[in-house]
């Protein structure tokens, strides 16, 4: 039965809030299958899926998890996501995962992979060293990394990753990417009808749900949203950037909208939109995954940019979405985002695009201060426009 938009979002919020990962446990039990967790930003989920396993995105504990043990492992100047992830692990909440992937994004996530090896012995742990050399040298290396993971996934799942199975998984994820892109386009076209809090929860649901189920959910939501009549508000159109790893609390996302901003693009749960084009289905699907990573991905802070301006991608995004400003929202102590910030601000200044910046943590409670800041930002754009 097709659900209405409200029911879909309610379901997403339940998934978002469930730090016992009941869906994952049920999914595994129903099939006698395995699940592999992964940290932000990007992993080739197709490869996990093709082995008959469930990829599960782990994005920390948000603002619903009390940190009791996790803080004992990290100094005060390290971001929140590793400590809440450790808390989840030590609390047994990630026991249903049969392995964990730590993509190369920063030194904290990198070192967390080593901590995981020491703290959860016997579990498969992989630091996915995605290449920063995008030429033939990086291609060969990344192919070997994927082959290594594929062998591990076959061993864990007991299933061979055949060409057909991988092609099927790639096709399912391509369809999911197409739907995600459609949802983002829909929001940009009618942000009053598609609030970002909905989009955000739909993206968070992709971390948990099996891809076909998530695609069905996206289809249902986009079909249902047409029936909803929401008032057009006098909000400004903004792009939010910097939030690709540790995620803001849902209350913060809602506060940004309530402060007078229509978020018309963002980098929340970026793994969903990391590939810009469909991955090729065909004779050599492993090679296709490698090529997709090397050639068809978004620009983000943890990915080295060989040519062009750091921030040019963001300017294109602003233009394409007809945004009037940028909100740079980065987690405290996030090296990739915060080291990127001055370069991005320089490009935005050069391009005469207004911006504001703040830091948050996944358990930020100081929402009002941020709301006032973004509200003032929105008002200044409305009053004076682009200077």
């Amino acid at each position: 039965m097709t659900m209405n938009a409200e029911d879909i979002i309610k379901r997403c919020e339940e998934l978002h809030d469930d730090l016992h990962f009941t869906y994952v446990k049920d999914w595994k039990a129903a099939r006698g299958a395995k699940a592999i967790g992964f940290m932000p930003v990007y992993v080739p989920r197709e490869l996990i899926h093709a082995a008959g396993m469930l990829p599960v995105g782990i994005m920390g504990g948000g603002d619903n998890l009390e940190i009791i043990r996790g803080d004992a492992f990290f100094q005060s100047y390290i971001c929140r996501i590793p400590r809440s992830t450790i808390e989840l692990g030590l609390g047994g909440r990630l026991d249903m995962l049969d392995g964990m992937l730590f993509p190369a994004i920063c030194d904290v996530i990198r070192n967390l992979s080593g901590m995981w090896q020491m703290m959860f012995e016997g579990k498969y742990v992989k630091y996915l060293d995605v290449p920063q050399n995008f030429g033939p040298q990086g291609r060969t290396f990344y192919a070997s990394e994927l082959a290594d993971m594929a062998r591990a996934f076959e061993r864990i799942s007991g299933n061979e990753i055949t060409r057909d199975a991988l092609n099927t998984s790639i096709a399912l994820y391509n369809e999911n990417r197409r739907l995600v892109a459609a949802l983002y386009d829909l929001r940009a076209a009618a942000p009053h009808k598609v609030p970002t809090s909905d989009v955000y929860l739909l993206m968070r649901a992709s971390n948990i749900l099996e891809v076909s189920e998530h695609s069905e959910m996206l289809r249902d939501y986009m079909a249902a949203i047409g029936d909803i009549d929401r008032p057009v508000r006098d909000n400004v159109r903004v792009v939010v950037t910097g939030a690709f790893c540790e995620q803001p609390p849902l209350s913060l996302v809602r506060a940004l909208e309530q402060s007078g901003c229509f978020i018309v693009d963002d980098d929340f749960v970026l793994g969903n939109r990391y590939q810009l084009k469909p991955v090729a289905v065909g004779e050599r699907p492993m090679e296709a995954l490698v090529e997709a990573y090397l050639g068809d991905t978004v620009a983000t802070a943890s990915r080295y940019e060989e040519d062009g301006d750091r921030g040019a991608y963001l300017v294109d995004q602003v233009r394409a979405r007809r945004a009037e400003g940028v909100i740079f929202a980065a987690p405290s102590f996030c090296d990739p985002a915060l080291l990127d910030r001055p370069m991005i601000e320089a490009v935005l200044t050069r391009e005469n695009i207004p911006y504001t910046a703040f830091k948050y943590a996944e358990n930020t409670g100081q929402i009002q201060v941020i709301k006032e800041q973004t509200g003032t930002f929105a008002d200044s754009i409305k009053l004076w426009g682009v200077q």
């Binding site: 904290v108 990198r110 050399n133 033939p136 060969t140 080295y304 990739p336 990127d340």
Partner: protein
Amino acid sequence: MTIQTTIQKEDSMIVQKEMIAGHFEKLAKAGETGKKVVYTFVPGNLNELIRAFDMLPVHPEVNALQSGMRKLSGGYIQEAEKSGHSEDVCAYVKSDLGMLKKGNVGPTGLPLPEPDLLLLSYTGCFTFLKWFELLKAEYGCRVVMLHIPYQAEGKITQEMRDYVTRQIEEVVVPALEEVSGKKLDRGRLEDMLASSARAEELLVDIWNSAKNKPSPIDAYFGGVFYIGPIFTAFRGLPECEDYYRMLKAEVDDRIARKQGPVTPDGEMSQQKYRIVVEGPPNWTSFRDFWKIFADEGVVMVASTYTKVGGLYESGFRHDPKRPLESLGEYCLGCYTNHSLPARVKILQDYIEDFDADGFLINSIKSCNSFSAGQLLMMREVEKRTGRAGGFIETDLVDPRYFSAANIRNRLESYFQMIDARRAGA
């Protein structure tokens, strides 16, 4: 407490100072002499390759630490923060950028030349990647990426070796040829690598001298000077070998005389505690920091920071018979490119091999590569060795994060813990 203002210096220190001064003079004159300049990082530096092209290296993190020692970094950091850099990120980067904004005058008071090439040896530290993106935006010059895969599983695979060697051969060497206008002289490179290996052999002997009691060296506070030539602009050059011969002779002499290392207050007479250290030192109050330990009779018998530019005791040597491969292996083997379990094992081995009373972690706010996970490392090393672990927090070059009083308080408790364990043994 008044700190003595003159430092007792050994001949090797004077020689090193002259080497560094000479290098910065060459850098200052690069515009006149036509020498090309390559900015690169200490971990995974390809010094022999750069030198084989007659190019001059600049190491931004060395400039930053020198700014810290000269009490200039605080102002530089504020300059960078004024222009939008976050207080949360690496102080080395901000010190370097602040120095650039204020005229790019190097540690010897001479101006630094702009880079002709940014050789981004991306080894063991994510910040390096962003640092050179920032410098690229400042200078508008070419960047060459050399991506060094992380030893996440505690080993170097053939695929990792091939990846790095191919990058050096197919990306780095052509870029150096293009910028320098010269073809690579492989014979010259091989000669330099042979020289590097000889210097590395001497350095390992020097590190191992700390197994003596009393230890003739301080492998941390003194060690940061010992690594100067080999980790920076001189590895592969004759003067580097000469320096290590001289240093080894001084160390051998101290062993024969049963003398301790030279500290800011002169020779250390009593060695009460033998300690292994994990993490970089604080540079802004380096002498005060050292003196806190020297006053307590602490000698550092091994340290991990002095392995960021090469972990030679594991047996690695640059190899003239496999020039590019061994340069790649060198990059792969630097300390911060090792996994946390491997780093725990390194600390455990140091504690046992050097018969240490305990180990200390100096956790650096700026450096997540070192710091993230150190609290777990401490627990694990304590569990494996039964020796006491201490934990203090400072920063590299941000003076706002150095509190001598807090450090002394923590260390008092730490030394009491060691004493208690000794008494119970």
